[in-house]
């Protein structure tokens, strides 16, 4: 799984974790606004991984997962994944539209479209918050959604953006969930070596 050692010192690890915290906190806050529930995040963790290894974030390999993928463009190119279980994705959509949420088993196409919108809200708010913090510009291109699928589909999603399956990433990962724990998911911010370096340079500038 770990094919690239980013060689981060403690200070750099702390800085990247805080970047993840700011992004994930804002994504959870946008979700909270959308579904009318209190949402929180875990303390972010950093992993060195490749596309195939990211499927390990989904703890039970046979679980049916929903994976939403977005390419972040602009000053700091990166990729973003939102991972959750199918019933949890359904619950979030039910909270968004209590009487009219599309059901995966009845209308998969409408369900996937609604999920895509949910993924856009989460990933864009994550990217916007990071951009505001670092003083950079962000643009997005929502690439794809895999639903329902299995963890292997995640590698395919990343691979769909080019040579993704063979690229190594620094993954900054945070869990998001409502405080009653009726659903949970993972936000995974994927940086290549160049993006990681750019973020750390921006942080040096912030601290003067």
């Amino acid at each position: 799984m770990a094919s690239w050692n980013p060689e981060l010192n403690e200070e750099q690890t702390d800085s990247l974790r805080e970047v993840g915290n700011i992004g994930a906190g804002h994504a959870a806050s946008e979700l909270a606004e959308l579904i009318g529930r209190k949402c929180v995040v875990s303390i972010p963790e950093l992993f060195c991984t490749d596309a195939a290894g990211i499927s390990q974030f989904v703890q039970t390999p046979d679980a049916i997962v929903v994976a939403l993928h977005m390419n972040m463009l602009g000053d700091i190119p990166a990729e973003m994944l939102v991972l959750t279980r199918l019933p949890h994705a359904q619950r979030m959509l039910d909270y968004m539209s209590p009487t009219s949420a599309p059901k995966a088993e009845r209308n998969l196409e409408a369900f996937q479209l609604a999920l895509r919108q949910l993924g856009e809200v989460l990933t864009q708010s994550f990217a916007d918050a990071i951009s505001q913090f670092l003083g950079t510009s962000a643009r997005y291109a929502f690439a794809d959604a895999s639903c329902p699928g299995n963890p292997d589909a995640i590698a395919t999603l990343l691979g769909s953006s080019g040579d993704g399956a063979r690229v190594s990433y620094l993954a900054i990962q945070a869990d998001f969930f409502d405080i009653d724990k009726t659903f949970e998911g993972k936000l995974v911010y994927l940086l290549n070596a160049k993006a990681q370096k750019m973020i750390l340079e921006k942080i040096d500038q912030i601290l003067g």
Binding site: E11, S15, E18, H26, S29, K38, I43, A129, F133, I206
Partner: protein
């Protein structure tokens, strides 16, 4: 301003950012803590004039620490500084004249405005607004 501050955040980067803005404005950083439990210990030891408090932290989260500080010192000036920009956090300090809330990321202006409000110094001139 000349007040003593306790900065609480599990991120060194976040603590450094808060410290930079507060020191530039003339405040004295009396101590720093990386979680809610340490925050309560240092609060008792240092009796700071102001606490800046993150929410998502290991061991004890900032909201739990805030409520504990409030029990011990109802008039302590405390600013919640968090990336969770949500109503339930804002409501925690909504009717609390010595409590404030600013979402991360924040500017020097945002932080110092909140500092002046919780310290009851809102009429102070704006020369510190970097």
């Amino acid at each position: 301003m000349g007040h003593k501050v306790l900065i609480v955040d599990d991120s060194r980067l976040a603590r450094a950012t808060v410290r930079k803005y507060l020191v530039q404005a003339g405040l004295e950083v009396a101590g720093e803590a990386g979680n809610g439990r340490e925050a309560i210990e240092l609060f008792s030891q240092l009796s700071p004039d102001l606490v800046t408090l993150d929410i998502t932290m290991p061991e004890m989260d900032g909201l739990t620490a805030f409520r504990e500080i409030r029990k011990r010192a109802p008039d302590a000036a405390v600013i919640l500084v968090t990336s969770l920009d949500q109503k339930f956090i804002a409501e925690e300090v909504a009717n609390d004249p010595r409590g404030g809330f600013i979402p991360k990321p924040f500017s020097s202006f945002d932080l110092l405005k909140a500092v002046r409000r919780v310290l009851g110094e809102e009429s102070t001139d704006s020369s510190t607004e970097a």
